[in-house]
Amino acid sequence: MSDTPSQRNPAFVRTEMLPEQAPPATETGIIKWARENLFSGTSNSILTVLSIISIYYIVVSAAPWILNGVWNSASIRECREILEGAAGGCFAVLTERWNQLLFGFKYPNEEYWRPGLAFVLLFVAAAPVMFFKYLPSKMLLFTALYPFLAYWLIWGGPILAPIFALFGFVVGYVVWSQLVTRSFAAGFFGSIVAAALTWWIGGMITSAVAPEETLLSAVPSRDMGGFMLNLILGTVCVSLSIPFGIALALGRQSNMPIIKWICVVFIEFVRGVPLITLLFVANVVLAYFLPPGSNFDLIIRVIIMITAFASAYIAEVIRGGLAALPTGQYEAADSLGLDYPQAMRLIILPQALKISIPGIVNVAVGLFKDTTLVSVISMFDLVGMIRGPILASTEWNGVYWELFGAAAILFFVVCYGISQYSQWLERELATDHR
């Protein structure tokens, strides 16, 4: 093997490496990408050409409508005069009525900063729950305080009311931790009684010492509206329905017949009734049962109904997650000597909830969009504002595309955000090796 040509005749020896050649033009950059992704075969090429043509037509027909859009006028007739027959959207309705779209038509103008601040703080409060691996767990304290703070910001009124509401929960928790060592039932019912007592006493104290002028002026529930109402209903109902859903799902699998049947009947009944029926019950039927003059807040009635509806669905999603776990996991927990709450908290639920994430997010997104149904019981959410007051005003009667387009964008941003977060969370929690 030593008789190679180079040894025999070493006239030329390359002393350095050849520089890398640029790849052929068809194997690099955008051309390669296009060949691989757009024109990899006859049928794909045809589809690509058709898609480009249709995108072109959509852009060509929509662009003048958007670019010519009128952003400043007092009514649709003025818009038409400005456009003089040319194609163009009348976006002036958005600039004139943006506050009604976001906050409803009765929320006082000078108080818009309050729901705005509550919205910003929502992210601060949600962050430690959503990104629990990256943020200090001390931030959860703010999350616990947030519901009371947000209530006070949005509804206003005496500050004592949310403070006593919070205090009731604290008292309930203290009683619970004292009694639960003796018996679960004692702790459970004892804490409920203690909390209710605190709220009752607190309510009397609040109404007794309530000053005429509060720091933040009170805004009644009837004045809530616009996208703010959708966000309030969506956030409250989703965050309440997840714990209720978990409890219902566990209850349905319980060995105790009464608990099991209560959960089964609740879930099956609520899932068997359309949401809109529940909303009508909340709005009109309850008014017959309550004594005249009693004012049970409409938003709270609606929140209860939507939460009940969503928890039934989430319970079934989580039950699917529980059923997907192999029996070995339950047996492993038993063999370690864990009792039921420990087994659930440490072994079963972390796995079951991880499996259920896509389903839970699906329910949450659907629920958020279903909050627009409240417009049929004459609450002015975003869609209710558009369909009712704005389209019924003599200035803007006839502006459809611009308004519903804006509503679609608002909902899309939120729903797409939720969906992206859930996909990130699934990757984050993936512990298996695929």
Binding site: A287, Y288, S378, P389, A392, S393, G398
Partner: protein
């Protein structure tokens, strides 16, 4: 036997409910606010403006009643109701009166146990066609495609009208007025039919209103008026005579401009004096202040002024008085005398 006991129990329950409902006038006075049911939005009749202030023809009636009872036309809590929630809202006592372009029908009055106190707008079902169609009468519509809202009385009226004139039509069922507007403009139907006031408001929103005509035929009676619960006649009287005061004021030439002079001292016309409270004690009979009608009319003007300001010919809605003119001008508005 069992039946009669049951009926007896029902009667007692009914009486109890009646007793509980009685005294709306006192409730309103004690509350300091009138809860008035309106629509969630209908062009010209009720809609909040950019500042959230309610305005419109039906809203004007609410404000007049609030002014008559409480002396303040702004002391109204407007409760928006949909077509589905309006009657339960009134029956359950959530609202004191409903002024929501509601048609006065037998079954609503008798079976649903409401009391229509009068009529503030005489409406009727009409037809709108594009001018290019060259139709000048609804009798020429044989074979037309008609956009019609499903589940309404307009659907039945349409069928009756075409059958009695032995014509055929092709219905295009639609759900809402907004949908109808789009379908009609897109040419999915030759004719759009609904209440004439709704047609006028719809046409006013078109880019080219002059390209569409309302046909002269009106094929149904839709008397719209405010209503209250059965069983509280004192309150019903207050609302009824406030509405009558607005109508009579136009007939007698009392406007928001000259009312302060007329109310200041007795005029030559005794009926005006009785209305203004400078003579007689009509207000006391109603349980109101002597100048209740003065306040009601000052709130937004008399009937004619309310009409002109909200839905009249100079507004985008552009409705002619038509049937809603005073009886002296050939219309149907006729207030009983203030005596």
């Amino acid at each position: 036997m069992k039946n009669s006991v049951f009926l007896g129990a029902l009667t007692v329950a009914g009486l109890a409910a009646g007793a509980a409902a009685a005294g709306t006038l006192d409730d309103v006075k004690a509350r300091g606010k009138l809860n008035c049911g309106v629509t969630t939005g209908l062009v010209g009749f009720a809609a909040p403006d950019a500042n959230g202030e309610w305005g419109g023809f039906d809203v004007g009636v609410c404000r007049a009643v609030a002014a008559a009872v409480l002396g303040d036309p702004t002391a109204v809590e407007f409760v928006p109701t949909t077509g589905k929630t309006r009657f339960t809202a009134l029956a359950s006592g959530e609202i004191d009166m409903l002024a929501r372009n509601t048609t006065w029908t037998f079954s609503r009055d008798v079976d649903l146990k409401f009391e229509f106190v009068g009529i503030n707008y005489y409406d009727g079902q009409g037809f709108m066609v594009p001018k290019d169609l060259g139709v000048s009468s609804a009798k020429e519509l044989d074979g037309a495609t008609v956009c019609i809202q499903t589940g309404t009385t307009t659907e039945l009226n349409l069928a009756d009208f075409f059958r009695s004139n032995s014509m055929n039509y092709e219905p295009v069922p639609i759900e809402t007025n907004a949908e109808a507007q789009q379908q009609y403009l897109a040419g999915a139907c030759d004719v759009y039919t609904t209440d004439a006031s709704g047609l006028a408001a719809t046409r006013a929103a078109f880019e080219d209103p002059a390209g569409h005509v309302l046909l002269p035929e009106i094929v149904s009676k839709e008397p719209l008026g405010p209503l209250v619960r059965h069983g509280d006649n004192e309150w019903g009287d207050v609302v009824r005579w406030t509405l009558n005061a607005l109508i009579a004021a136009e007939e007698l030439g009392i406007t928001s401009a000259n009312i302060s002079e007329m109310a200041a001292e007795a005029t030559n016309n005794p009926e005006i004096n009785r209305m203004m409270g400078t003579e007689g004690n009509l207000g006391e009979m109603l349980g109101l202040e002597a100048d209740w009608a003065v306040k009601a009319i000052s709130a937004g003007g008399n009937y004619g002024e309310l009409f002109e300001k909200n839905i009249g010919e100079n507004t985008p809605v552009g409705l002619a008085r038509g049937l809603n003119a005073q009886w002296t001008d050939g219309g149907l508005l006729y207030s009983p005398p203030f005596r």
